[in-house]
Amino acid sequence: MQIPYEVTARPDTGVNNAKLGIWLFLASEVMLFGGLFAAYVFLRIGADAWPGMMVYGTEMMAERADEILNVPLATLNTMILIASSVTMVMSWAALKMDRFDRYKLYMGLTILLALGFLVVKAFEYGDKFDHHWYASTNNFLGIYFVLTGLHAIHVTGGIVLNAYFWGPGTKLWKRGTPRDKAHFTNRIEVAGLYWHFVDLVWIFLFPMIYLI
């Protein structure tokens, strides 16, 4: 049995199944992060001080986010993610031009950059813990950890996905028929859409939490 439009686009909708699927999935992701962003706004509006008390039961207050968070590191991470989005597109473009070696290179770079993002993130978290700043310290740090944590989980998911397509997933391409190649290229496009979304979430997160 063959499911229609697995590889080719349906003429009247102009997309194949996987591409429509990823767009719908991303719509639900928008609602997920949207819910958390809304919670952020709701909590901040209701707060007496933001970020607020830094040690439970004391007068130690933080006035601005950048007293607590490391803006230069986060800026670096923004760059890393944007760069990884670019390499992701290039890996897809390489497949379009039938350059499998290039694909391996760019996809590998994408994965490395994403790992780099997580390493920087780990340093950031470690720094907070060294100061005894935890999610329970105040709602600013709470939402910071939840939002960036959920984002980091998405990054990790992306790494797993991309690593699969870098390694074992390439079997599909190597089968070599035009249909298989087109199928594989579609998959990379879909993975790319997901990856750009993860990037985009960060681009909203960064100013919202670190800057304003």
Partner: protein, 581 residues
């Protein structure tokens, strides 16, 4: 089933054929059976609660007297199980999965493996929920709504509840994406949107609601998990004091934030509970009145409009939280507006009956029962949508009566209609009609015996979630004896499910064999084009092409009183027609 196929389907083992299947029909059956077991279990919890309410402190065999903690667990889990593990999986997971691909002429769902994953994630979500009864101090006790701060400081069962919900939400999301892609991409040739059966439309809108409304609850679930496990204060206001003294949390959070996020899901969720039911009723009515659905297009527009509106009415559950009159006014208006499409759909279903030569069978009886019962549920909702009348009614038994009318004799009746209607499709045998009638009439009377008194009790002011059924309040004096009526009715309801269970199980083997594939002489593809019982993977011998709308019954000048969608309508040439005396 599928005899001719099991030979060609290379040596599939039991596990891969029935448990790890990627065939939408098998997955639909898996969903259906699991969901029905959960419904029975949730019903059992409720029976115990009703027993306790009728005679507080009674020694229940095996369990002993219920403690308030047990009562609260049963209440919370009854609601959770009925909604998230019973009705939705049956309406969407089972009927949607089984019927939608067949009705649109698709060989399967768009992502068969995702479909399988969705069932398994749902199953494990259910296991987590059930397991939570056995952790120290038992399952969640803060109601299916899990309002903080109470839920935040609850025992471990609440954490299990949250993890269970994360799994169930994930499963719904996988399912929703799959349904949407299937309906958009896999409609067969000629099956334009306005040729889709209304059931498919209902599932289509439902899938959008699941896709977009569930994630904010998932977000809320993560936040509550953080509150419970990481010690954050998202839902904890400053200065909370419990019996053990002040809580050592940072504070500064808001319990209302939870309510907003929760109801942003949970209002669309009630339409998830009702839309598939309306879809089933529409199919059964059209088929058994032998005439087109009245106002098909109007119904489709209504259901789309309803889907949109359901995202902006959520705060009608929160009128007494002190949101302010301006916000209340907004949500009152939207709530009144959303009642319009519901009334339109219900009226259209009702008008469909007009002038039909009705074929009474059990499926039809249940579909007919749905109309007035859903009507009562909907009408009792209007006073709740207006703040002045909602303020005295909120959190009373009136609310319980209201939503149960919608869901129990409403949705559940529609689901029964669906079971009787599609049973021959799935098994190739029919269910017994006499037992079906007994099941219908017994359930009809018992359901009303349970839920009608609730409306009165609530209007007198009896609160919901009372462990002793209102014994300690003097104003309940006039209505407290209803508790006995309701308990008896609940047990009678159980009694009348026995013929159904017997019928359902034995008909698989001993039911009358259907002699022709299109057993109900229906127009939609699942009956007219797909073999009964179905073949294995692939559904159709050849994928059908669709030529006209889904409800061409009793077309004038046509020989048969039904015109299947895959057969072009050829009106006999008028000149040729020899007029018979």
């Amino acid at each position: 089933m599928a005899d001719d196929h099991s030979h060609s389907d290379h040596q599939e083992g039991f596990w891969s054929k029935y448990w790890f299947s990627t065939d939408h029909k098998v997955i639909g059956i898996q969903y259906g059976i699991t969901a029905m077991l959960f419904l029975l279990f949730g019903f059992g919890l409720m029976l115990l609660m009703r027993w306790q309410l009728a005679s507080p402190g009674v020694e229940i065999p095996l369990l002993g007297a219920l403690t308030p903690e047990m009562y609260n667990q049963f209440g919370a889990m009854h609601g959770t199980i009925m909604v998230f593990l019973g009705v939705v999986p049956l309406a969407v997971g089972a009927f949607g999965n089984y019927v939608v691909p067949l009705q649109i002429g698709a060989p399967d769902m768009a992502f068969p493996r995702l479909n399988m994953a969705s069932y398994h994630v749902y199953f494990w979500g259910g296991v987590v929920m059930l397991a939570s009864f056995f952790v120290p101090e038992g399952a969640a006790k803060s109601g299916w709504t899990s309002y903080p701060p109470l839920a935040n400081i609850e025992t471990m069962g609440q954490t299990m509840w949250l993890w269970g919900m994360v799994l169930l939400i994930t499963s719904s999301l996988l399912g929703a994406v799959n349904f949407l892609v299937t309906i958009i991409q896999l409609r067969t040739e000629g099956m334009t949107y306005f040729k889709m059966p209304f059931f498919v439309w209902a599932q289509f809108v439902t899938a959008f609601l699941l896709l977009l409304a569930f994630p904010p609850l998932e977000a809320a679930g993560f936040l509550q998990l953080a509150d419970r496990l990481l010690g954050t204060s998202f839902f904890m206001p400053s200065g909370l004091v419990t019996a053990e003294g002040p809580l050592e949390v940072a504070g500064g959070g808001s319990p209302l934030l939870w309510q907003h996020l929760f109801w942003f899901l949970a209002h669309p969720e009630v339409y998830v509970l009702i839309l598939p039911a309306m879809g089933i009723v529409a199919e059964v009515l059209a088929n058994n009145t032998r005439k087109p659905l009245w106002g098909y297009k109007l119904m489709v527009y209504s259901v789309i409009f309803l889907g949109f509106m359901s995202f902006i009415v959520w705060a009608h559950h929160m009128f007494i939280t002190g949101m302010g009159t301006a916000i209340s006014a907004f949500f009152q208006v939207t709530t009144m507006i959303i009642s319009i499409p519901s009334v339109v759909i219900l009226s259209a279903l009702f008008i469909t009956l007009f002038g039909g030569s009705i074929r009474f069978n059990t499926a039809m009886w249940f579909a007919l029962g749905f109309i007035p019962m859903f009507g009562i549920g909907g009408l009792t909702g209007l006073p709740l949508g207006l703040a002045p009348t909602d303020i005295p009614l909120h959190d009373t038994y009136y609310v319980i009566g209201h939503f149960h009318y919608v869901v129990a004799p409403g949705t559940i009746f529609a689901l029964f209609a669906g079971i009787y209607y599609w049973y021959p499709k799935v098994t190739g045998r029919t269910m017994n009609e006499t037992l079906g009638r007994i099941h219908f009439w017994g359930s009809m009377i018992a359901m009303n015996g349970i839920f009608l008194p609730m409306l009165h009790q609530g209007m007198v002011g009896m609160s919901r979630r009372l462990f002793d059924g209102g014994l300690t309040y003097s104003f309940t004096e006039g209505v407290i004896h209803y508790n006995s009526v309701m308990a008896v009715s609940a047990f009678v309801l159980l009694l009348f499910q026995l013929p159904f269970i017997y019928n359902f199980l034995t008909s698989i083997k001993w039911g009358r064999k259907v002699t022709k594939s299109n057993y109900w002489e229906a127009t939609t593809l699942e009956w007219s084009a797909a073999p009964t019982p179905p073949v294995g993977h692939g559904n159709f011998a050849t994928i059908p092409t669709v030529y006209h709308g889904p409800y061409e019954y009793s077309v004038p000048g046509h020989e048969l009183d039904y015109c299947p969608q895959e057969v072009p309508i050829q009106l006999p040439d008028v000149a040729d027609q020899t007029v018979e005396p």
